[in-house]
């Protein structure tokens, strides 16, 4: 979707705020949100593409005025509700309880087996690479053009690089297609290519000299030139 999350080339967003000696988590709730994400995604309650899309559908003003882990909280809530893991009413009621009594503890529950399997997941990862029986359509050195498409759903083809000419720099393996997987349409794995674009192709006279941008793109985002 042409959402506010798709930020490449936008102006006017201000200075980069670099925090010295930044902690991994700024407060306890960020740590809870992070761990909850790994635990719920890791158990397959939703997939990574649904997770990302849940952030993209936040209102633009909300997206820009909320913190990173608030984005995560939004999409975790949305996905768990959509998947029927919990409903909005019970979540709101429980939130009210903790608002009234912020220091109320969360009931502890130990599940060493789950803790171990999730730790294992963190160490081993969960690849979205898939075997496919077809050959890649493009090879290194091929000139390609990105499609001029504006899907309303999830996509990983950024706006700044649509309808642009580039050259295939690397051919990667096939990976789950986010555009399908975010919307319950299956994995539809496709080859991913690292495509090189000269800065002038995107930015014209505003391009900086001696700059190239590499973007990793799924096969269906590209057409031959």
């Amino acid at each position: 979707m042409n959402g506010v999350h798709d930020l490449g080339g936008m102006h006017g967003l201000g200075r980069v705020d670099v925090e010295g000696n930044e902690p991994v988590f700024h407060n306890p709730w960020e740590k809870v949100v992070f761990g909850t994400m790994v635990a719920t995604l890791g158990q397959g309650m939703y997939n990574l593409d649904e997770f990302r899309h849940g952030i993209e559908v936040m209102g633009p003003a909300h997206y820009l005025t909320s913190s990173y882990y608030e984005h995560w909280l939004e999409t975790i809530e949305k996905n768990l509700i959509e998947k029927g893991v919990m409903d909005r009413d019970e979540l709101d009621a429980r939130t009210q309880e903790f608002l009234k009594d912020p220091d109320a503890p969360v009931a502890q529950r130990e599940d060493p087996e789950l803790a171990d399997s999730l730790s294992q997941l963190v160490r081993a990862g969960a690849s979205s690479r898939r075997e496919v029986s077809v050959r890649p359509q493009f090879e290194v050195g091929d000139r390609v053009r990105t499609r001029n498409v504006h899907p309303r759903g999830h996509t990983r083809l950024p706006q700044y690089v649509r309808d642009k000419q580039g050259v295939v720099e690397r051919v990667y393996d096939a990976f789950v297609l986010p555009d399908a997987n975010a919307h319950g349409e299956g994995e539809n794995p496709q080859y991913v290519y690292c495509v090189r674009f000269d800065a002038e192709e995107m930015w014209g006279d505003s391009a900086e000299p001696r700059e190239v941008v590499y973007v990793d793109l799924w096969e269906s985002y590209l057409e031959p030139l």
Partner: protein, 201 residues
Amino acid sequence: MSDSYPASEAEIAARAKAIESLLVEKGLIGTDAIDKVAGAYESDIGPMVGARVVARAWSDPGFKEQLLEDASAVCAQLDVGGMQGEHMVAVENSEQVHNVVVCTLCSCYPWPVLGLPPNWYKYPQYRSRAVMEPRKLLKEEFGLDVDESVDIRVWDSVAEIRYLVLPERPEGTEGLSEDELASLVTRDSMIGVGEPRTPEG
């Protein structure tokens, strides 16, 4: 709860606890799992891991060659890998080339070697400018002056490949041990927004 914003810190904290407590009650997660997976990124998964990889590449030309060929495979040999780094690629800085990494769509970042990303990497300011005016961005926001004669390569990691910048080995580091070299490698130098420290500091 989520239709008014900006939400207060108190509301966010309450929402986080609400989700956690409901999942616990439903028997779907353990509080120990949350502590364990999040805690891993506070203790042993962070830029010190990537620094070890870079220091090895600086010390061992064969390892460096393998790293540039297949970063995931050689990192696995060092027991380095995992979530958000299932497919890693190392890109090498040189006198002619400077690499910098961004994710314009969200916050993709090689967790196994760098840990979780700093806020600036995840926020709109960096993400919007890195692909359009990287040289200006690096100079103005990070104090990194990339000479006009040097090519800038920006890697917008919007798929599932994660990029690690292999910075140039600083001068005056001949004879340093791998551990000493690793201490010079900064997180920022592996994203491409900084340079490694020099032995003098």
